[in-house]
């Protein structure tokens, strides 16, 4: 093959694609999981219908990013995939069960006449379980995964390594974050009393989100000297200083936007919050995959695999993004005008 394609450049591109896919998943399924988390707090069936209808055309596409994130991690970093997943066996299982429960609730809820509570409960419980489990997986990943290197690289820790105070905290943190994201979606796309509720919930959720980001930011450097060095060694620290500053600015902007007419602004600023938190984690652990002992260069697939994937990623991912955007345009309606009419 041509020599100008440098293997390291390709590996970094693949890492960026994995990060992008996971990030897209977190934001897109994040807001619809968030709606599930807020579901028990709705007043009546009318509000619950509004909530459900506002995401019915999207949830399936949103979850596709989860499959894509897993598939691209497997293709580009097969070693990382095969080490991380056994390490978080039980939380992943829990997440899958949660996703099943809430996924089927979309279809079953509207099939049952007269209404039964069970699919409302399933939708909320499934969303909460899945969101919490994802946060636990995130925590277990960041805190580091033990690896056995002989005879071949594989997970070397125990059954319960993932269960720590830190991972429980990241579980709650992600619950908070998703709820906030779902709430800004509601503020943007709902009407009437539901929108009023969304507005009222917002300050609490914003504070929760900031507390979560704060807790992770303080805890990770305390947990790992390498992460502390990454953030606090001068002069490099100046390069990363905008991350916390922008975080505060986004939160403030989202709060201010609430005082004005409902718009997409708080939703976008909360996506900004997620992006910043996510970048912070990336800065902390780069280039480990998974932390602490393996790097993404060591975990990378061979050139033949990367090159085979490359055209698909370059051509198809932009197309998918355009179509996703188109889909959100087609179904851009205030939710109570529409109904689950298929």
């Amino acid at each position: 093959m041509t020599t100008w394609i440098d293997a390291d450049w390709l590996t970094l591109f693949m890492a960026a694609m994995v990060a992008f896919a996971v990030g897209m998943y977190v934001v897109l399924d994040g807001f619809d999981l968030g709606l599930g988390i807020l579901f028990p707090f709705a007043d009546d069936d009318d509000q619950r219908d509004q909530m459900m209808n506002s995401i019915a055309p999207f949830w399936d596409g949103n979850e596709t990013w989860l499959v894509f994130g897993g598939a691209i991690l497997l293709s580009a970093f097969p070693l990382a995939f095969s080490i991380i997943l056994p390490a978080v066996y039980l939380p992943i299982t829990l997440m899958l069960l949660g996703l099943i429960l809430r996924g089927v609730a979309f279809e079953f809820r509207f099939k049952h006449h007269p209404r039964v509570r069970i699919w409302d409960i399933a939708f909320a419980a499934g969303s909460i379980i899945a969101a919490f489990a994802q946060g636990v997986v995130l925590g277990a990943f960041v805190q580091g995964i033990e690896i056995r290197s002989a005879p071949s690289y594989q997970y070397g820790g125990g059954q319960w390594d993932w269960l720590t105070a830190f991972s429980m905290m990241t579980g709650v943190a992600l619950l908070c974050g998703y709820a906030l994201l779902g709430n800004t979606w509601l503020f943007w796309r709902s009407l009437g009393t539901l929108q009023q509720k969304a507005k009222a919930w917002m300050p609490v959720l914003l504070i929760g989100m900031l507390a979560a980001i704060g807790a992770i930011s303080v805890w990770t450097p305390l947990m790992s000297p390498a992460i502390a060095a990454r953030w606090f060694d001068f002069p490099r620290a100046f390069a990363f200083a905008p991350v916390p500053l922008l975080t505060v600015a986004c939160a403030w902007g989202a709060y201010r936007a609430l005082q004005k007419a409902p718009s997409v602004v708080p939703f976008m600023l909360c996506i900004g919050l997620f992006f910043l938190g996510y970048s912070g984690l990336a800065i902390s652990i780069f280039p480990s995959l998974p932390p602490p002992s393996l790097t993404l260069f060591e975990a990378a697939a061979s050139r033949q695999s990367q090159l085979f994937l490359l055209p698909g990623l370059i051509v198809l991912v932009p197309l998918i993004l355009i179509h996703t955007w188109f889909n959100y345009r087609v179904f851009h309606v205030k939710t109570d005008e529409d109904s689950y009419g298929h």
């Binding site: 095969s82 089927v104 695999s305 889909n327 087609v330």
Partner: protein, 463 residues
Amino acid sequence: MLESLQTFDATLLSRIQFGFTITFHILFPALSIGLAGFLVVLEALWLRTGEERYWRLLRFWTTVFALSFGMGVVSGIVLAYQFGTNWSGLMAKAGQILGPLLSYETLTAFFLEASFLGVLLFGWKRVSPRTHFISTVMVALGTCISAFWIMASNSWMQTPAGFTVRDGVFYPADWWAIIFNPSFLVRYAHMLMAAYLASAFVVAGVAAWYLLNNRFVPLARPMLALAFVMIVPLAPLQVIIGDMAGLIVRDYQPAKLAAMEAQWETGVMPLRLFAIPNQQAARNDFEIGIPKLGSLITQHSFDAPVKGLREFPPAERPNAAIIFWTFRVMVGIGFLMLAIALAASVLAIKKRLFTSRWFLRALTFASPLGFVAIVAGWYTAEIGRQPYVIYGLLRTADAVSPVTTGDVALSLTSFVIFYSAVFGAGFWYLARTIRSGPVEVALPAVPVLGNRPLAGMSPAAAK
């Protein structure tokens, strides 16, 4: 089976879990592939003729499709992640080949389906009939592309090609050879045909049930006719493709063929109609067969010998007691479908297709048979490749994750309880939707096609 009780380890439990979750999962994509194709036909008919009956059928089967698709999505995510949680050894060793195939499935199929599904289900009033029809076609296409990549990866594990091995890791060498490996095209065709046939039998069974009960008769007749437009050519075609698949097993996986036929000694093979294979003693405790016919079917010659299982070391022998029977269930159903297709043709010529009560009753009983055949066929293919996961190269025992037996026991138990409850409810809602039938749905008030107002309600009138 007794020896396996002592070895209830993570490997065996992981196999049971994978088998269990895929048994549920495969029903939904198969039904989705078939019904998506059916929706394309119905929507095309409706757009061409503007007849209300096609519109009502379209809306009705869309509801059934949505249920099936939703359950397919959630049960599919489970499989994608189980590759990592339970089969990390396989992924560490062959992830560089299997991973890109699965990535391309997501890129080319899942996103296509997901993007257009919203319009298909909810877009009746939001987009033009033409855009809606394109969306339906895209979803149907997506289901076939998805099966393409899944069958490519599974077939690669059955008949691996286009790779090199260094330090136990499989590296891709020739992607064309990997995707179009020796068994791929035939197995892909076999699976697609199976999906269309199984779904057509569901449609036929539902139509027959309505006709028997004198409900929705004007809708049930075209439904039944359309189902047989599918079944009559596909049922014989599937028998031919199945034979081709069998020849590939003969050439590439002789131990699997021997186990499927419960052939222990090498020699001319009878067509065994009934047998009780004894794995321990490496013989059949009892068998009834038609002499030489087995050789004719598998070798296309009366006198050609078929290699027996005894020529393989005991640890390399797939479980004949299971796949001898799963194979016979699949083939039996295939021929039953062929018989039904012939009977339907005769009845259609006699103009009694819609009125012959015994035939309609048989069809209602036959409606789930296609799915039984699909599952039985999968068991044959997958149990038949044991003890390997990548045939001849990587043992299943070396593919499993370093997880504890307790973990897998816990996840397996949870999946069994969850799936029974959730998909049990799913089947109940499916049955209920079918029981209430294609109720009235107002014709769409499509105001414009292009910029021209429609004359009347039907889109055909605008052409």
